[in-house]
């Protein structure tokens, strides 16, 4: 093999790996939809096609075992597609496990290994594919003209539903028999669920029947309406329509007739991501592009400074034009880094389902806001924290079904994962309708651990107490269960979120249950900043945290208990901090702002503080450059940037800044 062949192969492999990941996800999503609604025919088709495509791609790559496994999955789904058997928990389970194996297998084969053993899952798939022949053949019953409820696991009728059997006769002269029959089935499927056809849907399509066929439909419509709908199709000669008897005993959910039935089910809604036209780009290219744009923004600032000094109108105009274009370019480039949160959310329905099952809980998992976009770097980092919060919600948040019933709640718990955009932040909330956290128990634990002074209880709101669970070393779970409580606590979650420039809030929901809300910045690389001077140096303060700026003559400063405070326009009084003191350049913390000094109101989390600085030097977009290792330990600094005049400014981290001076 030549070098270029090798490279081609590498390219094909990359394409295969990324595409196969999409098909695998589509299969998982489809199976979860099927689990919540076994009658939905669309996901059956999606899963079938997904397995089919994987098979073809794997075969093309020479991954024989993957190809064989996905072929088995395809065969199984084909029986469902042809209505030879119906979907139940056990089937969903087998397919999901097969997908897991397929995923591992692809990794295995694409790395030239042969470590994965597929024999047990393939035989399971084979057994289940054969399963149809061991159930009484419902279609044979119907064909024999003895209408009776078929032994489908999905025949549990909802109130007001009936099962209607229709025997349809097409005209002898009918040329398009398959089309007419298809139109009848299609009409009936709009009136309810088509449970069965004789011959099978595939055979009808292929016109493998004389001019009579039969349809069994589950519907709320009256027999007469069904009959009229059938007769409205052209070339239908006659139709015999009657309601099928569903005997008392048989009417109960027949699901127990299927082996390995699920007891705990997580009903899942998987909204689809909107389809968009896309191109795949390697992350490396994107990162380089962002770096280059960052350099361009720095150079632009430098040119703007020079243009200001040169006092040449043409030069200034050209620089302004450059500004406009580079701003657009920057916006577009940043946009390429934005990824819908759905990309990481989509693995959660499966996870929640498996967890709920392991714990024997009945949980509905809902997601919303999947198309909300976040910077890729931020998104990559929040996966683990979200997994932790979801595990918590399922394990500790939702009570057992019996506790729920005792508390007069619906037996099925609900966990919600919702993303929303709010100005330059993305809010992601994980909430449950469980018993909620017990502030008294948390407080007692915090006291026991010496984290708080028992006398301070009144100073803490209920939500403040909940936040104590995010303190390092705090854990309320008395027993570490299999699911969570593996030593990684909420403090790690909070740490990660804050590292990303976001914040974590815990709230009691008024309706019961707990809500964890993550506020995250949209992007990390380039931000708007206010440039301030203190002790002869320029610092950049992220504009997202600045809520107000006061000129020297607008400052209403005073002292409370000897500590400086500022009265805001709305009458609020906030503590005043001197930047030079916070940074350690001065130690006169009690001095009030001088006649030339400015005050900036900085809000982080829910706390507003005033910061006094020597002067304000402007507002500009800055490119965040990480600090060298030497500065890593310095709290209050978020990075460095290069300014228009070529000098370097340190970026202040508003969240950490105020904890530096050692004052409250």
């Amino acid at each position: 093999m030549t070098v270029s062949d090798d490279m081609d192969m590498q390219v094909y492999r990359d394409v295969f790996l990324s595409e196969s990941a999409e098909y695998i996800q589509a299969i998982i999503d489809g199976m979860l939809v099927l689990e919540s609604d076994p009658h939905d025919l669309e996901p059956v088709e999606v899963v079938f096609r997904g397995a089919h495509s994987l098979k073809g791609m794997a075969a093309a790559m020479g991954y024989e075992r993957t190809s064989e496994l996905t072929h088995k999955m395809e065969s199984l789904m084909d029986t469902v597609r042809k209505r030879e058997q119906s979907v139940d928990g056990a089937l969903v389970d087998i397919v999901l496990r097969a997908v897991d194996v397929a995923k591992a297998l692809i990794d295995d084969e694409s790395n030239g290994r042969a470590a994965i053993d597929t024999s047990s899952i393939t035989s399971e798939l084979e057994v289940r594919t054969q399963f149809r022949s061991s159930v009484p053949d419902a279609t044979a019953d119907a064909a024999a003209g003895a209408p009776s409820a078929p032994a489908h696991g999905d025949m549990a009728l909802e109130p007001g539903e009936r099962v209607i059997h229709a025997s349809v006769d097409l005209e002898d002269t009918c040329v398009l028999k398959s089309v007419r029959a298809y139109m009848v089935v299609k009409r009936l499927s709009h009136m309810g669920h088509v449970v069965d056809t004789t011959p099978s849907a595939r055979e009808i399509e292929d016109e493998l029947f004389d001019h009579t066929f039969e349809v069994v439909v589950r519907t709320r419509q009256a027999v007469g309406d069904v009959e009229r709908a059938i007769l409205a199709v052209t070339e239908v000669h006659a139709a015999r329509v009657d309601e099928m008897e569903v005997a008392g005993g048989d009417a109960a959910p027949v699901e127990t007739s299927v082996p390995g039935e699920l007891h705990a089910r997580a009903r899942t809604e998987v909204p689809k991501l909107s389809e968009t036209q896309t191109v795949r780009i390697s992350i490396g290219h994107l990162d380089t592009l962002v770096d280059l744009v960052g350099e361009l923004v720095i150079l632009r600032s430098r040119l703007e400074t020079l243009a200001g000094e040169a006092d040449d109108l043409r030069f200034t105009e050209a620089v302004e034009r450059l500004h406009a274009i580079s701003s657009d370019l920057q916006h577009e480039v940043m946009q390429t880094r934005m990824v819908p949160v759905g990309n990481i959310f989509n693995r959660f329905p499966r996870m929640v389902r498996d967890l709920a099952r392991d714990l024997g809980k009945d949980i509905a998992f809902e997601m919303d806001g999947l198309d909300i976009e976040l910077d890729r770097t931020v998104l990559d980092e929040i996966g683990d924290p979200l997994v932790h919060l979801l595990r918590n919600a399922v394990d500790h948040g939702i009570e057992s079904a019996s506790e729920r019933v005792a508390a007069d709640k619906p037996g099925r718990g609900c966990v919600r994962l919702v993303a929303a955009r709010e100005r330059d932040q993305v809010l992601i909330s994980v909430s449950d309708d469980g018993g909620g956290m017990d502030p008294d128990r948390i407080w007692a634990k915090a006291v026991e651990r010496g984290m708080v002074d028992p006398a301070d209880r009144d100073g803490y709101s209920a939500d403040d107490v909940l936040m104590l669970t995010c303190t390092p070393g705090f854990s309320t779970a008395d027993v570490a269960t299999k699911v969570s409580g593996r030593g990684v606590g909420l403090d790690v979650v909070r740490g990660k979120i804050e590292y990303l420039g976001g914040s974590l809030h815990i709230r009691q929901r008024p309706t019961g249950g707990t809500e964890f809300e993550l506020s995250l910045p949209l992007t990390l690389a380039i931000i708007q900043a206010l440039l301030v001077r203190s002790s002869g140096q320029t610092f950049a303060l992220p504009l997202g945290a600045v809520t107000e700026v006061f000129a020297p003559d607008e400052i209403d400063a005073g002292s409370v208990d000897g500590m400086p405070v500022v009265t805001l326009r709305d009458g609020r009084i906030v503590s005043l901090h001197r930047l030079d003191v916070l940074l350690g350049f001065s130690d006169d913390a009690t001095r009030l702002p001088g006649p030339r000094e400015h005050v900036v109101l900085v809000e982080t989390g829910d706390v507003a503080r005033a910061l006094s600085v020597e002067s304000l030097t402007g507002r500009q977009e800055i490119v965040i450059k990480p600090l060298s290792r030497m500065f890593r330990g310095v709290r209050g600094l978020g990075g460095a940037t290069v300014l228009g005049d070529g000098s370097v400014a340190l970026i202040l981290d508003p969240r950490m800044l105020f904890s530096m001076g050692g004052e409250r």
Partner: protein, 124 residues
């Protein structure tokens, strides 16, 4: 390339008239169907050389018509061009899977329609 027979299936009468007028001017023979089922009947009975199929139609949609058309031996040589609305990649992918020969995206210019039809008919 005159004398070829083209079936236009669209539930919108104006579109049928526009397509018919445009293509008749190009020397083709035009027949019309107002819904999917009618389109299929005419495709089987009239044996057009090419069928222009709107995607959204009552009774049977364009893809269903295409699907059944491909199963009919009497329509073996029939070319199919789908009329899709702009920006529906999903339509195009589905069409490709079901074996459409070409697409015209609505709204379309008469010249574009003519060239797509001519190209599809010329292709073997």
């Amino acid at each position: 390339m005159g004398g070829k027979r083209i079936l236009i299936a669209d539930d919108n009468k104006q579109i049928r008239m526009l397509v018919s007028a445009t293509l008749r001017a190009g020397g083709y023979e035009l027949i019309e169907a107002a819904d999917g089922a009618e389109a299929l009947e005419m495709a089987v009975s009239e044996r057009p050389d090419l069928v222009l199929l709107d995607v959204m139609m009552p009774n049977l949609d364009g893809f269903e018509v295409l699907h059944f058309l491909r199963k009919r031996p009497e329509c073996a040589g029939c070319k199919v061009v789908m009329l899709t609305t702009a920006a529906s990649m999903a339509d195009m992918q589905r069409g490709a899977k079901e074996g459409a020969d070409g697409y015209v995206v609505k709204p379309f210019q008469p010249a574009d329609l003519k060239s797509v039809v001519a190209n599809v008919l010329a292709a073997q």
